[in-house]
């Protein structure tokens, strides 16, 4: 319990530091939100209009006043107005992008973790065997591919040439969103290639991590003892070794889940998938402060919460932490 209490105090401090940076970083970039609007008129505005636009799209007050307003709005969960999509509330765009990012990156991480971990367990158990010496190097190689190439190759081959999958979007635009089979089917169909493009470059990491920890553990005394007790292979493999080896994997998984809300920019761009990465990229280019802040806040919170959950999961999985 003390362990968890200490962690929570730490997270609270980290959260404050992070939201302060979220506020400062967009403002350290040259330019401000009104610049792009003004530039888009290519000189067709007079000075009074430029001044009026700066005032209404830009931000009032000095940095300190803006900061206080910002802190207040964070706790009121008020994300402000987007300037890229003026005057749409940032919250509705964030929510929209986050939903699809959760689908896309969530599915990708889920499958990558499951596939990678099981392959890692299998490779470590039969280390040096055919499975290990064939798949381990292959998976490591895949892991080194850049998502951009994989996404473009998949797009070219399966969307453009073979036409097995759609060119883009999260679902058929003619379907209304809802919990019916048609819509869910369409979402899964549209998500297949984007998910695959992330999955292909990420499951190798889980494979390698799991395999390495497993191999170390296989030489431990408790494994020898378990064998001596005559326990079944599967019981040793999953209940003894894998359960210990999974601990660092869980921590890594928590980090990935946290960073999930950063989106998958390249994949989203190639497949016109409406995820947070794409929105954030546009927002940064246009200095859309409220969107950048909102997205960073979401990301910060997600990383911290995911870490907290992994701490809790570690406590549950690892009895040694419980007493502390």
């Amino acid at each position: 319990m003390i362990f968890l209490a200490r962690r929570i105090a730490f997270y609270f401090a980290a959260f404050f530091l992070a939201i302060t940076f979220n506020f400062l970083i967009p403002r350290l970039m040259p330019g401000d939100p009104s610049d792009r609007i003004i530039a888009s008129f290519q000189g067709r505005l007079n000075e009074a209009q430029v001044a009026a636009i700066r005032q209404s799209y830009g931000l009032d007050g000095n940095l300190w006043e803006q900061y206080l307003t910002y802190i207040g709005s964070v706790f009121r969960l008020d994300f402000g107005i987007s300037t890229v999509q003026f005057p749409e509330p940032t919250a509705s765009l964030l929510f929209y992008g986050a939903t699809w990012t959760l689908v896309l990156v969530g599915l990708a991480i889920f499958f990558a973790f499951i596939i990678g971990s099981f392959m890692g367990i299998h490779a470590a158990w039969n280390r040096g065997g055919f499975f290990d010496s064939f798949f381990t190097p292959i998976n490591v190689m895949l892991n080194a591919f850049t998502p951009a190439i994989v996404a473009l190759v998949l797009f070219y081959a399966f969307s453009l040439q073979l036409k097995w999958f759609p060119l883009g979007r999260a679902h058929d635009p003619n379907l209304m969103a809802g919990w019916d089979l048609n819509f869910i089917g369409s979402v899964l169909y549209h998500a297949t290639l984007p998910v695959l493009s992330i999955l292909l470059v990420s499951f190798g990491g889980w494979h390698l991590g799991m395999r390495n920890v497993m191999i170390n553990l296989l030489n431990e005394d408790f494994v020898v003892l378990a064998r001596a007790k005559g326990l079944s292979d599967n019981r040793i493999k999953y209940r003894y070794v894998a359960r210990n080896a999974i601990l660092p994997q869980i921590t890594a998984l928590a980090l990935s889940v946290g960073f999930m809300l950063g989106g998958a920019l390249v994949t989203e761009q190639v497949f016109n998938y409406p995820g947070l990465g794409k929105f954030t990229f546009t927002a940064i280019g246009s200095r859309d402060y409220s969107f950048i802040q909102g997205q960073l806040l979401l990301l910060t919170t997600a990383v911290l919460v995911a870490n907290l959950l992994s701490d809790i999961a570690n406590v549950i999985l690892d009895p040694r932490l419980r007493g502390r």
Binding site: M29, P30, G31, D35, R36, I37, A39, S40, F41, Q42, G43, R44, L45, N46, E47, A48, Q49, A51, A52, I53, Q55, S56, T83, V84, Q85, F86, P87, E88, L93, Y96, G97, A148, L152, F155, Y156, S159, L160, Q161, K163, P166, L167, G168, R169, D172, P173, N174, M176, Q269, V270, N272, P274, K278, F279, T282, G285, S286, R287
Partner: protein
């Protein structure tokens, strides 16, 4: 961005948008077009919201007073106004409005709406309505008055023969709706009340919406298109694929090497890239060495413009003949004979450039291999470009190499787009590659280029970045504006052209293409190189685009 690569021909079948076919009755004719890239569609139909809605609602739903026919001035330009007349003293313009036009909710359109819209624009400076002529110090239009139900007179502060070019672009709003809107920039205008051919939004989602036929529109006899469909898209990978697959009919995206990346993808894919506005080098003439005319001359002839055309910009740009800051888009305004003596400034001649620099004292004084200023201070400058603007980055690179060849230490400096925009008003730059403004007459380009008010540090305009004040040009601009006589305007313009060529405040490079791609899968009637009926762009700012949409007719048997 990324090229799609060498693709074999895509067959016709639709892929994603297997368009819903109505079960019974006549199939609706839908034109799919992309005037604006966005990550998500937002339900907002405000015709003066520049973040997307304006690009889709102007011209198609909301009509302007007048459509300046840039390629064929004076032909078929009537929109909500049917004629105009400039007052004897050039201090007023009177528009006769079209009678019998109804707003899409059934109310009559009349002079009250126009007067209201003018006053409304004036009262809301943070809601730019596209007319920049009405405000105190900078603008010249003092007031609008209703003469009768279909006549509006705009009074000017001082004689101005060109004020109508600003007023022509006023998109009148229905007074009976907008009089109750206090904060127009935050208003989404969900109930579209307009006079254009398509005014009924339908099937809105984050993925796009349709804008369907206005049953009260006067265009319905000629209009063959039931709905315009605006899909959400962002990025060239998607748009090119969508046009090839039949998810788009009309597009205006910048493409790299379209003969390879675009044409082979579908038998229906077509493009044509007529010459658009020119691109110039803007030199900061408040600094050495750019404050020296001989140096600027040497720069101009050191540039290999043929390489810029063929290699740097992928053969998509058009050559510029004279060193006057504007090009082929305004070729009807040239006095070629008067400008002939300056053509040598546009010809690649590095030996001559070296001779000019040597004679002017730009020699290598400190022995580092690069030329220095005549006073011995070193020359080293960057040509600034936003990273990712591929053709212009290539252009900056080529120019830098050309200058290095004559011993000038120039380099390409790429930066983030936001930083690039940000440095201009402050005057914090050496050399920029910069676009020029379009507009009905070359006045629209030269006026911001030589307006001293736009050269004040902190407010430097993109066109006035050179910051060189040339009184004879300012005087000639006043003459141009002060006369409705085309001969007088032409003479004044030739004076401006010559003064630019003499002083070289900017260095002319080439004309940008007008981006225009289209699919002949479903429609005929497209503007082509053989049939140059009007400017073909799909983007806002091309008021002719409504004619283009109306000119399109469905092909027999096409799938919508």
């Amino acid at each position: 961005m990324h090229k799609i690569g060498l693709l074999t021909v895509l067959a016709g079948a639709l892929l994603t948008t297997s368009a819903i076919v109505p079960a019974a009755g006549q199939e609706e004719v839908i034109l799919r077009l992309l005037p604006y890239h966005t990550d998500a569609m937002v339900e907002n139909y405000n015709p003066n919201n520049p973040t997307g809605p304006q690009q889709r609602m102007r011209d198609f739903a909301y009509e302007p007073l007048w459509i300046d026919n840039i390629w064929h001035p004076g032909e078929n330009e009537e929109a909500l106004a049917v004629s105009w007349e400039i007052g004897e003293d050039l201090k007023s313009i009177t528009y006769k409005l079209r009678e019998g036009v109804k707003w899409s909710d059934g109310e009559d359109f009349n002079a009250d709406d126009v007067v209201f819209s003018f006053e409304y624009a004036k009262a809301h400076p943070d809601y730019p309505m596209g007319i920049d002529v009405y405000n105190g110090e900078t603008g010249n239009v003092a007031s609008a008055e209703k003469v009768d139900d279909y006549t509006v007179k705009f009074n000017l502060n001082e004689p101005d023969a060109l004020a109508r070019y600003g007023l022509n672009g006023l998109y009148p709003l229905p007074e009976h709706i907008w009089k109750d809107v206090d904060d127009p920039k935050n208003y989404a205008a969900l109930d579209v009340v307009a006079t254009g051919p398509w005014t009924e939004p339908r099937n809105f989602s984050r993925n796009g919406y349709d804008l369907c036929r206005n049953e009260l529109s006067r265009y319905n006899d000629e209009n063959a298109i039931d709905c315009l469909r605006f899909p959400q898209m962002n990025g060239n990978e998607q748009t090119v694929a969508a046009l090839s697959a039949g998810d788009l009919d009309w597009l205006g995206d910048g493409l790299t090497d379209p003969d390879v990346t675009f044409l082979p993808q579908s038998e229906f894919n077509n493009y044509w890239l007529p010459a658009g506005s020119d691109v110039n080098l803007q030199l900061n003439t408040t600094k050495a060495p750019f404050n020296n005319l001989e140096f600027r001359k040497a720069m101009s002839i050191a540039i290999d413009r043929q390489t810029l055309l063929d290699i740097s910009t992928f053969g998509l740009t058009t050559a510029t003949r004279f060193p006057i800051g504007t090009g082929e888009m305004y070729n009807t305004w040239y006095d070629a004979a008067a400008l002939e003596p300056y053509t040598h400034l546009m010809e690649y001649n590095p030996d001559e450039a070296i001779a000019i620099l040597d004679a002017a004292g730009f020699v290598d004084a400190d022995g580092d291999g690069w030329r220095d200023n005549p006073d011995g201070t070193p020359i080293a400058f960057g040509i600034s470009m936003p990273s990712g603007w591929t053709d212009w980055v290539n252009t900056g690179q080529t120019v830098a190499e050309n200058l290095q060849d004559i011993g000038v230490n120039a380099s390409l400096k790429t930066m983030d787009q936001g930083a690039w925009f940000d440095a201009v008003p402050r005057g914090d730059f050496d050399v920029y590659v910069m676009w020029t403004n379009g507009g009905p007459t070359p006045y629209n380009q030269y006026s911001p280029m030589f307006n001293p008010r736009l050269m004040v540090e902190g407010q430097i305009d993109f066109q006035a970045m050179h910051q060189m004040q040339i009184p004879e040009i300012e005087a000639a601009l006043d003459v141009f504006k002060g006369s409705a006589d085309e001969a007088v305007q032409r003479a004044a313009l030739t004076d401006i052209h010559k003064a630019v060529a003499e002083n070289l405040p900017t260095i002319s490079l080439f004309a940008n293409p007008i981006w225009y791609e289209y699919s002949t899968r479903r429609f005929t009637g497209w503007v082509t190189e053989e049939d140059q009926k009007f400017r073909p762009q799909v983007h806002d700012g091309t008021r002719e685009r409504v004619w283009h949409a109306l000119a399109l007719k469905p092909i027999e048997g096409a799938q919508f």
